[in-house]
Amino acid sequence: MRIFVDGRTVLVEEGTTLAAAMLNEGIDANRRSVRGQPRGPLCGMGICHECRVTVDGVPHRRGCMVVVREGLEVATSLHESR
Protein backbone atom coordinates (compact mmCIF):
# COMPACT_ATOMS: atom_id res chain seq x y z
CA MET A 1 0.00 0.00 0.00
CA ARG A 2 0.97 3.66 -0.31
CA ILE A 3 1.40 6.19 2.42
CA PHE A 4 2.64 9.81 2.16
CA VAL A 5 5.37 11.22 4.37
CA ASP A 6 5.92 14.98 3.99
CA GLY A 7 4.42 14.62 0.53
CA ARG A 8 6.73 11.75 -0.46
CA THR A 9 5.08 8.46 -1.54
CA VAL A 10 6.25 5.44 0.44
CA LEU A 11 5.32 1.83 -0.42
CA VAL A 12 4.74 -0.31 2.66
CA GLU A 13 3.55 -3.78 3.52
CA GLU A 14 0.32 -4.34 5.38
CA GLY A 15 0.80 -4.73 9.14
CA THR A 16 3.87 -2.49 9.37
CA THR A 17 3.94 0.21 12.03
CA LEU A 18 4.42 3.73 10.75
CA ALA A 19 7.73 4.14 12.62
CA ALA A 20 9.07 0.91 11.09
CA ALA A 21 7.85 1.93 7.63
CA MET A 22 9.70 5.25 7.89
CA LEU A 23 12.89 3.62 9.14
CA ASN A 24 12.71 1.01 6.36
CA GLU A 25 12.47 3.88 3.89
CA GLY A 26 15.61 5.49 5.34
CA ILE A 27 13.73 8.29 7.12
CA ASP A 28 15.73 8.28 10.35
CA ALA A 29 14.30 11.38 11.99
CA ASN A 30 10.66 12.40 12.45
CA ARG A 31 10.91 15.53 14.59
CA ARG A 32 13.23 18.08 16.18
CA SER A 33 13.94 18.65 19.85
CA VAL A 34 13.40 21.99 21.59
CA ARG A 35 17.01 22.88 20.63
CA GLY A 36 16.53 21.81 17.02
CA GLN A 37 18.25 18.42 17.09
CA PRO A 38 16.74 15.66 14.89
CA ARG A 39 15.02 12.85 16.78
CA GLY A 40 13.95 9.33 15.78
CA PRO A 41 12.27 6.36 17.47
CA LEU A 42 13.99 4.86 20.52
CA CYS A 43 11.86 2.28 22.31
CA GLY A 44 9.51 1.21 19.54
CA MET A 45 6.84 0.31 22.06
CA GLY A 46 4.94 3.52 22.83
CA ILE A 47 6.82 4.78 25.88
CA CYS A 48 9.56 7.20 24.85
CA HIS A 49 7.41 9.42 22.57
CA GLU A 50 10.42 10.21 20.35
CA CYS A 51 8.62 8.86 17.27
CA ARG A 52 5.87 11.49 17.33
CA VAL A 53 4.50 12.65 13.96
CA THR A 54 1.31 14.26 12.69
CA VAL A 55 -0.96 11.59 11.18
CA ASP A 56 -3.96 12.68 9.07
CA GLY A 57 -3.78 16.13 10.64
CA VAL A 58 -3.59 14.96 14.25
CA PRO A 59 -0.29 16.00 15.87
CA HIS A 60 1.83 14.02 18.33
CA ARG A 61 0.73 10.54 17.26
CA ARG A 62 3.34 7.92 18.19
CA GLY A 63 4.51 6.35 14.92
CA CYS A 64 5.35 3.05 16.59
CA MET A 65 1.72 2.70 17.73
CA VAL A 66 0.15 3.44 14.33
CA VAL A 67 -0.30 0.55 11.89
CA VAL A 68 -0.17 1.78 8.28
CA ARG A 69 -3.26 1.86 6.09
CA GLU A 70 -3.75 2.91 2.49
CA GLY A 71 -3.44 6.67 1.96
CA LEU A 72 -2.13 7.56 5.43
CA GLU A 73 -0.79 11.17 5.41
CA VAL A 74 2.15 11.83 7.66
CA ALA A 75 3.83 15.14 8.46
CA THR A 76 7.06 15.26 10.40
CA SER A 77 8.13 18.49 12.14
CA LEU A 78 11.64 18.39 10.72
CA HIS A 79 11.18 21.50 8.65
CA GLU A 80 9.34 23.64 11.20
CA SER A 81 11.20 26.86 11.95
CA ARG A 82 10.39 27.09 15.67
Partner: protein
Protein backbone atom coordinates in the same frame (compact mmCIF):
# COMPACT_ATOMS: atom_id res chain seq x y z
CA UNK B 1 28.08 27.86 55.47
CA UNK B 2 30.23 30.98 55.41
CA UNK B 3 32.00 31.69 58.65
CA UNK B 4 32.83 35.30 57.79
CA UNK B 5 30.40 38.04 58.70
CA UNK B 6 27.77 39.34 56.38
CA UNK B 7 25.94 42.64 56.13
CA UNK B 8 22.58 41.24 55.10
CA UNK B 9 20.80 37.90 55.36
CA UNK B 10 17.96 37.27 52.90
CA UNK B 11 15.53 34.52 53.92
CA UNK B 12 14.09 32.88 50.81
CA UNK B 13 15.87 32.17 47.53
CA UNK B 14 12.83 32.72 45.36
CA UNK B 15 12.90 35.33 42.62
CA UNK B 16 12.02 38.12 45.07
CA UNK B 17 14.72 37.14 47.58
CA UNK B 18 17.29 36.77 44.81
CA UNK B 19 16.37 40.15 43.33
CA UNK B 20 16.84 41.67 46.80
CA UNK B 21 20.18 39.88 47.17
CA UNK B 22 21.32 41.21 43.79
CA UNK B 23 20.28 44.78 44.60
CA UNK B 24 21.92 44.74 48.04
CA UNK B 25 25.08 43.16 46.60
CA UNK B 26 25.19 45.86 43.97
CA UNK B 27 25.23 48.37 46.83
CA UNK B 28 28.36 46.67 48.14
CA UNK B 29 26.78 44.65 50.95
CA UNK B 30 27.98 41.12 51.68
CA UNK B 31 24.77 39.12 51.33
CA UNK B 32 23.93 35.60 52.47
CA UNK B 33 20.74 34.04 51.08
CA UNK B 34 19.21 31.13 52.99
CA UNK B 35 16.49 28.81 51.73
CA UNK B 36 14.82 25.88 53.46
CA UNK B 37 14.84 24.04 50.11
CA UNK B 38 16.05 24.51 46.56
CA UNK B 39 16.72 27.88 44.97
CA UNK B 40 13.51 29.07 43.28
CA UNK B 41 11.72 25.91 44.43
CA UNK B 42 8.55 27.59 45.72
CA UNK B 43 6.06 29.87 44.00
CA UNK B 44 8.79 31.01 41.58
CA UNK B 45 8.82 27.62 39.86
CA UNK B 46 5.06 27.07 40.07
CA UNK B 47 3.74 30.13 38.24
CA UNK B 48 3.47 31.44 34.70
CA UNK B 49 6.48 33.74 34.42
CA UNK B 50 4.31 36.50 32.94
CA UNK B 51 5.88 39.99 32.96
CA UNK B 52 2.73 42.09 33.00
CA UNK B 53 1.59 45.64 33.71
CA UNK B 54 -1.35 45.24 36.10
CA UNK B 55 -3.78 47.96 37.17
CA UNK B 56 -5.49 46.43 40.21
CA UNK B 57 -4.62 49.56 42.18
CA UNK B 58 -2.63 52.72 41.34
CA UNK B 59 0.32 51.50 43.42
CA UNK B 60 0.19 48.14 41.64
CA UNK B 61 0.29 49.78 38.22
CA UNK B 62 3.19 51.97 39.35
CA UNK B 63 5.10 49.02 40.78
CA UNK B 64 4.54 46.68 37.82
CA UNK B 65 5.32 49.33 35.18
CA UNK B 66 8.49 50.39 37.03
CA UNK B 67 9.59 46.77 37.38
CA UNK B 68 8.86 46.09 33.70
CA UNK B 69 11.22 48.94 32.79
CA UNK B 70 13.91 47.27 34.93
CA UNK B 71 13.24 43.91 33.22
CA UNK B 72 13.50 45.54 29.80
CA UNK B 73 16.92 46.93 30.76
CA UNK B 74 18.00 43.36 31.57
CA UNK B 75 16.52 41.71 28.50
CA UNK B 76 19.46 42.13 26.11
CA UNK B 77 21.69 40.28 28.60
CA UNK B 78 19.36 37.40 29.47
CA UNK B 79 20.70 33.97 28.38
CA UNK B 80 18.53 31.75 26.10
CA UNK B 81 17.59 29.44 28.94
CA UNK B 82 15.51 32.27 30.41
CA UNK B 83 13.25 31.68 27.35
CA UNK B 84 12.25 35.31 26.92
CA UNK B 85 9.27 35.79 24.61
CA UNK B 86 8.26 39.40 24.03
CA UNK B 87 4.79 38.34 22.91
CA UNK B 88 2.76 40.99 24.77
CA UNK B 89 -0.61 40.51 26.45
CA UNK B 90 -4.11 40.55 24.98
CA UNK B 91 -6.79 41.57 27.51
CA UNK B 92 -10.04 40.15 26.10
CA UNK B 93 -13.50 41.70 26.24
CA UNK B 94 -16.34 39.23 25.66
CA UNK B 95 -19.05 41.82 25.15
CA UNK B 96 -19.61 45.59 24.78
CA UNK B 97 -19.96 45.95 28.55
CA UNK B 98 -16.42 44.66 28.98
CA UNK B 99 -15.19 46.99 26.24
CA UNK B 100 -15.99 49.83 28.63
CA UNK B 101 -13.63 48.22 31.15
CA UNK B 102 -10.96 47.93 28.46
CA UNK B 103 -11.22 51.62 27.62
CA UNK B 104 -10.80 52.52 31.28
CA UNK B 105 -7.77 50.22 31.40
CA UNK B 106 -6.40 51.91 28.26
CA UNK B 107 -6.74 55.29 29.95
CA UNK B 108 -5.00 54.16 33.15
CA UNK B 109 -2.14 52.54 31.24
CA UNK B 110 -1.63 55.64 29.11
CA UNK B 111 -1.37 57.77 32.26
CA UNK B 112 1.34 55.37 33.49
CA UNK B 113 3.17 55.52 30.12
CA UNK B 114 2.39 51.87 29.35
CA UNK B 115 1.91 51.43 25.57
CA UNK B 116 -1.34 49.83 24.46
CA UNK B 117 -3.36 49.33 21.30
CA UNK B 118 -7.10 48.68 21.18
CA UNK B 119 -8.13 45.89 18.79
CA UNK B 120 -11.64 45.43 17.42
CA UNK B 121 -13.21 42.01 16.96
CA UNK B 122 -11.79 41.56 13.48
CA UNK B 123 -8.26 42.66 14.41
CA UNK B 124 -8.40 40.37 17.44
CA UNK B 125 -9.20 37.28 15.36
CA UNK B 126 -6.31 38.12 13.07
CA UNK B 127 -3.96 38.54 16.01
CA UNK B 128 -5.06 35.34 17.72
CA UNK B 129 -6.85 33.02 15.26
CA UNK B 130 -7.70 30.32 17.77
CA UNK B 131 -9.98 32.67 19.75
CA UNK B 132 -13.68 31.98 19.24
CA UNK B 133 -15.93 34.15 17.14
CA UNK B 134 -18.07 36.76 18.81
CA UNK B 135 -15.58 38.36 21.19
CA UNK B 136 -15.90 42.14 21.38
CA UNK B 137 -12.25 43.12 21.18
CA UNK B 138 -9.04 43.34 23.16
CA UNK B 139 -6.47 45.69 24.60
CA UNK B 140 -3.00 44.71 23.37
CA UNK B 141 -0.07 45.51 25.67
CA UNK B 142 2.96 44.94 23.42
CA UNK B 143 5.66 45.48 26.03
CA UNK B 144 4.54 42.65 28.31
CA UNK B 145 6.57 39.44 27.99
CA UNK B 146 7.01 35.88 29.17
CA UNK B 147 10.08 34.33 30.80
CA UNK B 148 10.91 31.00 32.37
CA UNK B 149 10.96 32.05 36.00
CA UNK B 150 13.27 29.38 37.48
CA UNK B 151 16.11 30.17 35.06
CA UNK B 152 15.46 33.89 35.43
CA UNK B 153 15.85 33.46 39.20
CA UNK B 154 19.11 31.55 38.62
CA UNK B 155 20.29 34.41 36.41
CA UNK B 156 19.68 36.85 39.28
CA UNK B 157 21.45 34.46 41.64
CA UNK B 158 24.53 34.41 39.43
CA UNK B 159 24.44 38.18 39.14
CA UNK B 160 24.33 38.42 42.95
CA UNK B 161 27.16 35.88 43.33
CA UNK B 162 29.30 37.86 40.89
CA UNK B 163 28.90 40.77 43.29
CA UNK B 164 29.92 38.70 46.29
CA UNK B 165 26.68 37.16 47.54
CA UNK B 166 26.47 33.57 48.78
CA UNK B 167 23.49 31.21 48.87
CA UNK B 168 22.95 28.23 51.15
CA UNK B 169 20.16 25.84 50.18
CA UNK B 170 18.47 23.26 52.42
CA UNK B 171 19.09 25.45 55.45
CA UNK B 172 15.85 26.32 57.23
CA UNK B 173 15.81 29.51 59.28
CA UNK B 174 14.16 28.56 62.60
CA UNK B 175 13.83 32.03 64.04
CA UNK B 176 14.38 35.66 63.15
CA UNK B 177 16.34 37.48 65.89
CA UNK B 178 17.25 41.12 66.36
CA UNK B 179 19.93 41.71 63.71
CA UNK B 180 20.24 38.04 62.88
CA UNK B 181 18.68 34.63 62.45
CA UNK B 182 18.92 31.23 64.08
CA UNK B 183 19.63 28.57 61.50
CA UNK B 184 20.77 24.98 62.04
CA UNK B 185 21.26 25.68 65.73
CA UNK B 186 23.64 28.57 65.03
CA UNK B 187 23.10 32.30 65.46
CA UNK B 188 24.03 34.21 62.30
CA UNK B 189 24.35 37.96 62.75
CA UNK B 190 23.73 40.65 60.18
CA UNK B 191 22.71 44.28 60.44
CA UNK B 192 19.95 43.63 57.90
CA UNK B 193 17.63 40.63 57.69
CA UNK B 194 15.14 40.43 54.82
CA UNK B 195 12.14 38.10 55.16
CA UNK B 196 11.49 37.18 51.53
CA UNK B 197 9.98 33.79 52.31
CA UNK B 198 6.77 34.29 50.33
CA UNK B 199 3.86 32.26 51.63
CA UNK B 200 6.09 31.01 54.46
CA UNK B 201 6.98 34.52 55.60
CA UNK B 202 4.40 34.48 58.44
CA UNK B 203 6.06 31.36 59.89
CA UNK B 204 9.01 33.59 60.77
CA UNK B 205 7.18 36.89 61.34
CA UNK B 206 3.84 35.79 62.77
CA UNK B 207 1.70 38.85 62.29
CA UNK B 208 2.44 39.24 58.58
CA UNK B 209 -0.96 39.33 56.80
CA UNK B 210 -0.02 36.84 54.06
CA UNK B 211 -2.10 33.77 53.20
CA UNK B 212 -1.43 31.01 50.63
CA UNK B 213 -3.67 31.32 47.55
CA UNK B 214 -3.65 28.09 45.61
CA UNK B 215 -3.49 28.02 41.84
CA UNK B 216 -3.59 25.29 39.19
CA UNK B 217 -1.77 25.26 35.87
CA UNK B 218 -1.71 22.78 32.97
CA UNK B 219 0.79 22.61 30.13
CA UNK B 220 0.29 21.06 26.73
CA UNK B 221 2.53 19.25 24.27
CA UNK B 222 4.20 21.34 21.56
CA UNK B 223 1.85 23.07 19.13
CA UNK B 224 3.93 25.91 17.64
CA UNK B 225 1.89 28.89 16.55
CA UNK B 226 -1.31 27.87 18.35
CA UNK B 227 -1.09 30.82 20.70
CA UNK B 228 0.84 33.99 19.82
CA UNK B 229 0.32 36.26 22.86
CA UNK B 230 -0.50 35.90 26.52
CA UNK B 231 -4.30 35.90 26.47
CA UNK B 232 -6.11 37.07 29.61
CA UNK B 233 -9.80 37.80 30.14
CA UNK B 234 -10.61 41.26 31.48
CA UNK B 235 -12.32 39.60 34.47
CA UNK B 236 -8.94 38.23 35.61
CA UNK B 237 -8.18 41.51 37.36
CA UNK B 238 -11.26 41.45 39.60
CA UNK B 239 -10.67 37.74 40.23
CA UNK B 240 -7.13 38.31 41.43
CA UNK B 241 -8.33 40.96 43.85
CA UNK B 242 -11.41 39.33 45.34
CA UNK B 243 -10.57 36.84 48.07
CA UNK B 244 -13.29 34.36 47.10
CA UNK B 245 -13.18 30.71 48.08
CA UNK B 246 -12.74 29.35 44.56
CA UNK B 247 -12.62 30.97 41.14
CA UNK B 248 -11.15 30.53 37.69
CA UNK B 249 -10.21 33.10 35.05
CA UNK B 250 -8.78 32.74 31.54
CA UNK B 251 -5.02 33.15 31.39
CA UNK B 252 -3.29 31.30 28.54
CA UNK B 253 0.33 31.68 27.51
CA UNK B 254 2.61 30.49 24.69
CA UNK B 255 6.01 29.07 25.54
CA UNK B 256 8.91 29.22 23.10
CA UNK B 257 8.78 25.42 22.83
CA UNK B 258 5.32 25.77 21.27
CA UNK B 259 3.68 24.45 24.42
CA UNK B 260 0.60 26.25 25.73
CA UNK B 261 0.47 27.01 29.46
CA UNK B 262 -3.12 27.17 30.69
CA UNK B 263 -4.38 28.95 33.82
CA UNK B 264 -5.74 30.27 36.09
CA UNK B 265 -7.44 29.33 39.34
CA UNK B 266 -7.56 30.76 42.83
CA UNK B 267 -8.61 29.01 46.03
CA UNK B 268 -8.23 29.60 49.73
CA UNK B 269 -7.78 26.08 51.08
CA UNK B 270 -4.83 26.45 53.39
CA UNK B 271 -1.82 24.40 52.32
CA UNK B 272 -3.62 21.55 50.53
CA UNK B 273 -1.60 21.27 47.33
CA UNK B 274 -3.37 18.27 45.79
CA UNK B 275 -4.82 18.72 42.31
CA UNK B 276 -8.54 19.47 42.65
CA UNK B 277 -10.03 17.89 39.54
CA UNK B 278 -13.21 19.91 39.75
CA UNK B 279 -11.29 23.19 39.83
CA UNK B 280 -8.93 21.99 37.10
CA UNK B 281 -11.89 21.03 34.95
CA UNK B 282 -13.52 24.46 35.49
CA UNK B 283 -10.25 26.17 34.60
CA UNK B 284 -9.77 24.15 31.41
CA UNK B 285 -13.43 24.64 30.46
CA UNK B 286 -13.02 28.41 30.81
CA UNK B 287 -9.97 28.30 28.56
CA UNK B 288 -11.75 26.14 25.98
CA UNK B 289 -14.72 28.53 25.97
CA UNK B 290 -12.36 31.23 24.65
CA UNK B 291 -10.14 28.97 22.47
CA UNK B 292 -12.24 25.99 21.39
CA UNK B 293 -9.40 24.10 19.69
CA UNK B 294 -7.59 23.87 23.02
CA UNK B 295 -9.87 20.89 23.66
CA UNK B 296 -8.01 18.92 20.98
CA UNK B 297 -4.56 19.54 22.43
CA UNK B 298 -2.79 17.06 24.64
CA UNK B 299 -1.89 18.27 28.14
CA UNK B 300 1.18 16.58 29.50
CA UNK B 301 1.28 17.88 33.08
CA UNK B 302 -0.77 19.78 35.62
CA UNK B 303 0.33 21.11 38.99
CA UNK B 304 -0.49 23.52 41.80
CA UNK B 305 1.32 26.28 43.64
CA UNK B 306 0.63 28.84 46.33
CA UNK B 307 0.66 32.58 45.74
CA UNK B 308 1.47 34.66 48.84
CA UNK B 309 -1.64 36.83 49.02
CA UNK B 310 -2.51 39.96 50.99
CA UNK B 311 -5.98 41.40 51.47
CA UNK B 312 -5.32 44.55 49.44
CA UNK B 313 -3.40 42.81 46.67
CA UNK B 314 -0.22 44.79 47.26
CA UNK B 315 3.05 43.26 48.49
CA UNK B 316 4.75 44.06 51.78
CA UNK B 317 8.01 45.91 51.12
CA UNK B 318 9.70 47.83 53.91
CA UNK B 319 10.92 47.78 57.48
CA UNK B 320 9.33 45.74 60.27
CA UNK B 321 9.97 48.06 63.20
CA UNK B 322 9.19 45.51 65.91
CA UNK B 323 12.41 43.58 65.23
CA UNK B 324 15.68 45.50 64.89
CA UNK B 325 17.18 45.09 61.42
CA UNK B 326 14.21 43.21 59.95
CA UNK B 327 12.78 44.10 56.55
CA UNK B 328 9.96 42.40 54.66
CA UNK B 329 9.81 41.67 50.93
CA UNK B 330 6.88 39.27 50.55
CA UNK B 331 3.22 38.94 49.63
CA UNK B 332 3.39 39.47 45.87
CA UNK B 333 0.40 37.20 44.98
CA UNK B 334 0.49 36.58 41.22
CA UNK B 335 2.96 39.35 40.44
CA UNK B 336 6.14 38.10 42.07
CA UNK B 337 8.02 37.55 38.84
CA UNK B 338 6.98 40.90 37.38
CA UNK B 339 7.72 42.95 40.50
CA UNK B 340 10.82 41.14 41.79
CA UNK B 341 13.25 43.66 40.29
CA UNK B 342 11.39 46.74 41.55
CA UNK B 343 11.07 45.10 44.97
CA UNK B 344 14.82 44.56 45.17
CA UNK B 345 15.58 48.07 43.98
CA UNK B 346 13.08 49.81 46.29
CA UNK B 347 14.21 47.75 49.27
CA UNK B 348 17.88 48.56 48.60
CA UNK B 349 16.99 52.25 48.21
CA UNK B 350 15.18 52.26 51.55
CA UNK B 351 17.94 50.36 53.36
CA UNK B 352 20.66 52.66 52.08
CA UNK B 353 18.53 55.77 52.55
CA UNK B 354 18.48 56.75 48.87
CA UNK B 355 15.48 58.44 47.30
CA UNK B 356 13.60 55.95 45.15
CA UNK B 357 11.45 55.89 42.05
CA UNK B 358 8.28 55.12 44.00
CA UNK B 359 7.07 55.79 47.52
CA UNK B 360 7.15 52.67 49.69
CA UNK B 361 4.15 53.90 51.69
CA UNK B 362 1.50 51.79 49.88
CA UNK B 363 3.63 48.68 50.54
CA UNK B 364 4.31 49.34 54.22
CA UNK B 365 4.33 45.95 55.97
CA UNK B 366 2.41 47.19 59.02
CA UNK B 367 -0.27 49.12 57.09
CA UNK B 368 -3.99 48.80 57.80
CA UNK B 369 -5.83 46.61 55.26
Amino acid sequence: MRSGGCDAIVIGAGIVGLACAEALSRDGMRVLVLDAGDVAGGATAAGMGHLVAMDGAPAQLALTSYSLRLWRDLMPGLPPRVELDSCGTLWIAEDPGQLVLLREKERLYAAASVRTEMLDAHELRRAEPELREGLAGALFVPDDAVIYAPTAALFLLHEAERKGAAVTQWCRVDEVLPNGVRCGGERLSAGIVVNAAGSSAPALTPSLPIVPRKGHLAITDRYPGFCRHQVVEIGYLADAHAMTQESVALNVQPRITGQVLIGSSRELVGWDGAINRSVLRRMLARAVSFMPSLARLSTIRSWTGFRPATRDGLPLIGPWERVPGLWIAAGHEGLGITTALATGRLLADAITGRSSELSLLPFAPSREM
